[in-house]
Symmetry: C2
Amino acid sequence: MSSTPEVLISEVGPRDGLQSVQAIMPTADKRRWIDALVEAGLREIEVGSFVPARLLPQMADVVDVVRHALRHQGITVMALVPNRRGAEAALAAGVHKFTLPVSASEAHSLANVRKTRVQMVEALREVHALRREAAPGVAMEVGLSTAFGCTLQGAVDEDEVIRLAVACVEAGADEVGLSDTTGMANPAQVRRLFKRLRAEIGTRAGAAHMHNTRGLGLANCLAAFDVGVRTFDASLGGLGGCPYAPGASGNVVTEDLVFMFEAMGVSTGIDLDKLMAAREPLKTGLPHEPVYGMTPEAGLPKGWRVHHHPSNPSTSSG
Amino acid sequence: MSSTPEVLISEVGPRDGLQSVQAIMPTADKRRWIDALVEAGLREIEVGSFVPARLLPQMADVVDVVRHALRHQGITVMALVPNRRGAEAALAAGVHKFTLPVSASEAHSLANVRKTRVQMVEALREVHALRREAAPGVAMEVGLSTAFGCTLQGAVDEDEVIRLAVACVEAGADEVGLSDTTGMANPAQVRRLFKRLRAEIGTRAGAAHMHNTRGLGLANCLAAFDVGVRTFDASLGGLGGCPYAPGASGNVVTEDLVFMFEAMGVSTGIDLDKLMAAREPLKTGLPHEPVYGMTPEAGLPKGWRVHHHPSNPSTSSG
């Protein structure tokens, strides 16, 4: 019953989702939402961004949210840090893991973080230097955004994506994943790029972060799984996308992704009923935002609870 | 430029879609819709059902619709026939291909056609006898509905599905496909069942008919493609489901399926811009029905038309 889940679903809603919407979720709802996610069995949660509150007022309470999340045992509390200053604040708050936004597309990099790709790799190096001296136990991942195409520049050269991934590893990243920020990926491309990524950086090849912009989100996750990817970013209720990638929207819905894997017999460690219940604090905290998900709407199939035995009950505390 | 497409997208909207909604599309709109589908490059279209108009008033004009569709060269005009009487009428109208509804679940069979599975195989045998003597050139396919699970009875035994497929071939079916009528399929199951199907009936293994009820429609199509399936049912705008499978809805959206394959470099012979344009007569003819599709909402990716060259321009006439 307590075997290790085969895939890690990394919940990005409290960061990627919340910073994509105008409305600001009250801190109390963020806490309740994170509690519900942990209760459902999520083991890695991106809980916020360490960026100036004037730029992202949705994240003004990030220190409080991190501290609350840290009350839960056995989960990885992750936060986005764009630079050394953000990383210092995140370390002070006590996060377990950084994620840094590096864009495969130069145009997206400039629009998203006002830095070139080279400057972002330099920022990564600085953050790595900081954590090496101050907190060597803290992990550092990069999700290469627009790795499959960019709404600003169009196609993104695959050789450049791989070279950038290698540069990120050389700058100190523990893991480099690939993000379909703009919903342009297709399963053949996903297989090709993740295979190349693994060939180049081995076990440092990280998460698949897919969007459902054109309906291909789960097919792309399946394609990534087929070539060995075992970490998948997803957002409860499909909340969020990228505000600086015009027309792009639609993180993969955690509920549907978990349903797909569990139905396939691939354990996630997540309890689907409890995951559905985690939609309630999200809806309460953002009453005017649409919340997506086909599985929540259709419900679990007849016979599911009889035939399906979750492999790993959730861990929770606090 | 005119190489044979690698996959056949079989459009089921004018039958499966239209008979699932209460509203009746006017005949003139059905004609315009079919014309637009042919113009987009669809080569197989299920245009209607030969069932009594008192049971399905949406299909009362099926003879007229078939005759109109037959004005187009180079397409396969298919119709659903539940029994010998329907097949006689369909032959008289001039269809190229029959499809018969055989359910893998006994409960669904009784609800859908008021016959047992054994009785439906017998009906298939009678239709086969008819076409053998009257129209040997007419093709006959079976889509095994509820092959991946049933909202009425729950799980459906996989051995039974395969045995029933073999029985359908023995009764004269040229092709037997598998339908996820209730949106319960997952990619692992799709691969397993289609592999078994091919092992048992070889090249008579037919189409994958997937639903998007829980968001897995395209992932399941990808899974079927991976194990050699090359014919896929889909419905423009995702119209339709199955009225006798409570809670089930959501045919795979043709636009999203075509986008997935074309983006992967798998040719469909379909022009995506013209396919989007085919939504207009559908919307005009059914103004109060929701029309789905992620790709139509998001639009084609930046750079798509520059980098993507459809392999096969559509054929059309009439």
